[in-house]
């Protein structure tokens, strides 16, 4: 789509549905945006974390004398220096999970390679590095366990005393055993995915200082609400901790848990000086949270005509050494394990297991992403065994509005997944011919159902404050954080649509726990849904309050008014006033032109014993399609064409929607084909950025994009979330294409040339 064509397909909107480039995007292109590391204060120190070199050990001693004695060192802190050394995250609101806390600095035990043991602050980064090396820690290595199957077995080394199974979700409906027994066809499959890393180009970073007695952190973070946790760790009142979220150089969920915050806070509070911390890329690769590798075991029952009658699904996720958000990730996987298909009898168990690997937590897609490979692989296998086309089989089973999910919820928005499937395939055009002898080509598809918005039983809410100023310009204050996907800019676009203020006249202030109304973190594809609605309602409510004043001034009824291009005008007369004049008039009548609105998501509850209840507010449906070529001698897979189509409800900014789909698909291509942390016995093998293979500009073709706008999303103006969904379809789509090319289905990620060659060997032997 060329830019002039990027007009929204539905809706009588002026700003929403167009693709202006504004606000932070201007600063980014000008290079004038200040990220978290682009901040300096006089007397600033440099902080560094000291990390465990081994995956499982008892700490028998820490000697910091040499480190403290190094000239230029201002502080060396260990567990003993942390007032409240535990981070307890009840990630499922206390539902069903083990309560395990994570220390800020390890005291007597380390449970993963890279676990923080001490922090150092010094006058230069070089001295900080040297001091970190001088911290002498005695480790007595303990047996570790490095995969979830072994960790669940009796007698496995205990990562935590309370046990290795963190949470076990159960969703059951109907009679799975009976349905499987009666099925004409039962397909079994086991699929495995790997540890992958967010690999944002901006490493974790932040600066902390004390201002007017308030501990202030300016960090690259998705969640400013961690201010409360930081206050608890330091034993400070929450009113004495402020977190400012800088615009991020990428987040993808890797900056959803705390990264540098607690370490900065400790060093700043101890030294009473500003401190900066930037993680090394290699440090980030080894020690930052990762995506949960999944083992996905499926037994799918179907009738001869392809109707699915039963799904028995077991999902096992490697949570690594600490809980973080693992319970929620495995919950999302369970809730989406049946995909966009009707399944009347389902039995789903989804378990997060501790190991001595690096902790896994949030990463774009959050469990509902990995599981796509499971359900889509089963669909392709089923189609092949039943002799049905892949598209016909899917169409027979696609969900529709009004259908029940295995949790007993009824879908209350339209399901346009079939439309996305046809459009995605159409993007590819004619199937290609092999480029030479020894090459095979294949076409594949992958459909998904991906949630947007937080799990309903969190009772999510977001607030936004708008103010029409005396000169007609508009101010927005929102606690939203911006990962680079236009979180802030989209709010401006919505406000501009409702209040008619030109985009250039709108300023937005975000991500400050002291100065902004709380909006919740930027994750779960929730910001457009939550903060978009908050701004939409705040703008509408403000307009409704000011409209009578304008009506009075113009002598027309209030519902005759239009707010557009900086003016309020009567639709049927030639009269108008400027927004500045309206503001002045309101002020004279003591009517406030500022307004705070809190938008609350629908509430609900879930019973973990029965697996019935409310899960997510709604879903985004989509399909990807790909043509690949396989070199039968080397196993190398070349993606020839790639297309993606999602139903986004309403595209607030079509160009940004396209960008999310292209970027998400590219991240998915890396996950599918080249990315692997390759953790062996608790040690990460891909320690260098040169060895962690994220896609570059030459690896893959352009992702072709088409969007459906069904208008029934629960976001503002009918929008659905699009941040996460596009990463989910990719691995399944590529596996589908490879299967079409070589006749064998890959079941392990990433689909490296070596693995593909082994599948080719397998095919040759059978």
């Amino acid at each position: 789509m060329t830019i002039p064509d990027l007009q929204s397909l539905t809706g009588p909107y002026r700003i929403v549905g167009t693709s202006p480039a504004h606000h932070d995007f201007v600063d980014k292109v000008k290079g004038s945006l200040h990220y978290a590391a682009d901040w300096q204060l006089p007397g600033m120190l440099h902080g560094r974390v000291v990390r465990s070199p081994v995956p499982s050990a008892r700490i028998t001693g820490i000697d910091v004398t040499a480190a403290r004695a190094l000239p230029g060192v201002a502080a060396v802190l260990t567990a003993a220096d942390v007032p409240s050394n535990q981070i307890v995250e009840l990630a499922s609101g206390g539902l069903a999970e083990l309560q395990v806390s994570m220390p800020v600095l390890a005291a007597d035990r380390v449970r993963y390679m890279g676990e923080p043991v001490a922090v150092v602050a010094a006058t230069t980064p070089q001295i900080a590095y040297e001091a970190a090396e001088l911290v002498a820690v005695d480790y007595e290595e303990l047996p570790g366990v490095f995969d979830p199957i072994s960790a669940r077995a009796d007698g496995a080394p205990r990562v935590h005393e309370v046990g290795n199974t963190l949470v076990n979700w159960q969703i059951h409906c109907g009679d799975v055993a009976g349905a499987l027994a009666a099925a004409d066809m039962v397909i079994e499959g086991e699929y495995r995915s790997q540890h992958v890393e967010h690999a944002y180009l901006e490493p974790e970073a932040g600066v902390g200082w004390i201002e007017n007695g308030v501990l202030t952190l300016r960090v690259s973070t998705q969640v400013i609400e961690h201010a409360a946790t930081i206050a608890h760790i330091l034993g400070l009142p929450q009113s004495k901790v402020r977190v400012i979220a800088a615009y991020m150089g990428g987040g993808f969920g890797g900056k959803e848990d705390m990264t540098v915050e607690a370490f900065l806070a400790l060093l700043v509070w101890h030294t009473r000086r500003p401190v900066r911390m930037i993680w090394d890329r290699q440090e980030s690769l080894v020690a930052s949270t990762k995506r949960h590798p999944f083992i996905m075991r499926y037994r799918t029952g179907a009738d001869r005509d392809g109707t699915i009658t039963a799904q028995q699904i077991e999902i096992i996720g490697d949570a690594g050494a600490y809980p973080n958000l693992s319970p929620r990730v495995l919950f999302a996987a369970a809730a989406c394990a049946c995909g966009p298909y009707r399944v009347p009898n389902a039995s789903i168990t989804s378990t997060a297991v501790f190991t001595n690997n690096v902790p896994a937590s949030a990463f774009r897609g959050f469990g509902a992403m990995q599981i796509v490979l499971g359900y889509e692989s089963q669909m392709d296998q089923l189609a092949e065994r039943l002799g049905l086309s892949r598209t016909a089989l899917r169409e027979r089973n696609f969900l529709a509005k009004g259908d029940l999910l295995p949790t007993g919820e009824r879908l209350d928005t339209c399901v346009e997944v079939a439309e996305t499937m046809h459009r995605a395939i159409a993007l590819l055009g004619e199937p290609p011919q092999p480029s030479g002898p020894g090459k095979l080509v294949g076409r594949g598809i992958g459909c998904n159902r991906h949630p947007y918005g937080r799990t309903i039983w969190f009772r999510d809410r977001a607030s936004a404050w708008l103010s029409l100023q005396g000169d007609g310009t508009l101010l927005i204050r929102s606690g939203v954080t911006d990962l680079g996907a236009g979180q802030a800019a989209s709010l401006c676009q919505i406000a501009a649509e409702i209040l008619g203020a030109p985009l250039d006249d709108i300023s937005i202030y975000i991500g400050d726990s002291a100065l902004n109304p709380p909006a919740g973190g930027t994750f779960a594809t929730r910001q457009l849904y939550m903060s978009g609605n908050a701004v939409l309602h705040a703008a509408q409510e403000l307009r409704d309050r000011m409209a009578p004043v304008a009506a009075d001034l113009l002598g027309v009824p209030a519902d005759d008014l239009e707010f557009v291009a900086g003016r309020v005008r009567a639709q049927r007369a030639e009269v108008s006033i400027t927004l500045a004049e309206l503001a002045a008039a309101c002020d004279k009548r003591a009517i406030s032109t500022a307004h705070l609105s809190t938008w609350r998501a629908q509430a609900g509850s879930f019973d973990p014993r029965t697996g019935q209840g409310d899960t997510f507010p709604d879903y985004t449906y989509g399909t990807h399609a790909a043509d690949v070529e396989v070199d039968v001698e080397t196993g190398q897979v070349t993606v020839l064409r790639y297309g993606a189509c999602h139903d986004v409800g309403r595209a607030i900014n079509p160009m940004r929607v396209q960008g999310q789909i292209q970027g998400g698909a590219m991240q998915g291509l890396g996950y599918a084909l080249t990315e692997d942390m390759a953790i062996e016995d608790g040690y990460v093998q891909a320690v260098l950025f040169a060895n962690y293979l994220i896609p570059n500009a030459q690896d893959f073709p352009d992702v072709l994009v088409d969007i459906v706008e069904s208008g029934e999303g629960k976001g503002p103006l009918g929008a659905r979330g699009i941040g996460e969904p596009p990463i989910g379809n990719v691995a399944a789509t590529i596996a589908s294409a490879i299967q079409d090319a070589i006749g064998v289905r890959p079941d392990r990620l990433p689909m490296t040339p070596e693995r593909v060659l082994a599948l080719l060997d397998q095919r040759r032997q059978t």
Partner: protein
């Protein structure tokens, strides 16, 4: 040279594209860096049958210079796979050979073309065939205080064809396996008189592989494949995060056969 000899912990800094990452990652902590970037401004030149590349010749020059394209097309082709634009603006051929990475594309081409390096030390100059230069993982047979000053490559001859192929997990990355092949045609049609093969990524150094006498049957593809299979059997690569030993061996066989075929085809094309 004096500086090198006088300091135990001294390192030469040329392009810096291999050394500086090691410093940034603190894998090397030399006490002294000797920046030689201004030491030599000579361009590539040809003298008689030799292409003379000063050691400080940047990769970008190798990519673009007419003399390289004309007299060592193999190298001009292989350089495309080295690093990226920034790396090629600074990286040097001398630095690359001295670094002796076992996956080096340049090392591969130097071996296959029977290149030599001129090394200067406190006791004078000597010429070392590249086949005697690499000593193991990131080490050479150069003395502590010797510096490479020139790389001498025999110019490509008629009836000769070269091919460079590599397999990478991501474009422009370190090679999993790379092959440089130079084939020389014999008198009879379809006859291969000599073939020189260099391999990267299959040992602790870039290495020459002797294909032995290549049969000259009616099915040249089969003859070349047989040669490739013979070589692959002798290889003992290591396994790492990118590929297992078994896969590298298999890949080597495929790439050697393809490289020999392409080199032979180019030699034939040239002969007409």
């Amino acid at each position: 040279m004096r500086l090198l000899a006088g300091h135990e912990e001294a390192k030469i800094l040329a392009g810096g594209q291999s050394l500086m990452p090691m410093l940034n990652l603190r894998l090397a902590r030399p006490e002294l860096l000797i920046d030689i970037n201004q030491a030599d401004q000579r361009p590539p030149s040809r003298t008689g049958d030799l292409l003379r590349l000063p050691a400080l010749t940047r990769h970008r020059v190798l990519l673009e210079h007419d003399l390289v394209r004309q007299h060592c097309p193999l190298l001009a082709e292989a350089i495309r796979h080295v690093g990226n634009v920034r790396v090629r603006n600074r990286g040097t051929i001398g630095g690359s050979l001295a670094h002796a990475d076992p996956t080096s594309e340049i090392g591969c081409c130097a071996l296959a073309t029977q290149a030599q390096v001129v090394a200067r030390g406190p006791d004078g100059e000597r010429t070392v065939p590249v086949s005697e230069l690499f000593a193991g993982y990131w080490s050479t047979t150069l003395a502590e205080s010797e510096i490479i000053t020139d790389v001498l490559i025999p110019v490509a001859r008629p009836r000769q064809g070269g091919s460079f192929l590599e397999m990478v997990r991501r474009t422009s990355d370190f090679a999993i396996v790379a092959v440089a092949a130079v084939v020389e045609l014999g008198e009879r049609p379809g006859e291969i008189a000599a073939a020189r093969l260099a391999l990267a990524g299959v040992a602790d150094r870039v290495m020459l592989a002797d294909p032995g006498p290549i049969a000259s049957t009616a099915d040249q593809d089969q003859d070349l494949d047989a040669a490739a299979a013979r070589i692959a059997e002798t290889l003992e690569p290591a396994s790492d995060v990118h590929a297992s030993a078994a896969y590298r061996r298999r890949l080597a066989r495929v790439l050697i056969a393809r490289a020999l075929r392409q080199a032979a085809a180019r030699a034939t094309g040239d002969a007409r």
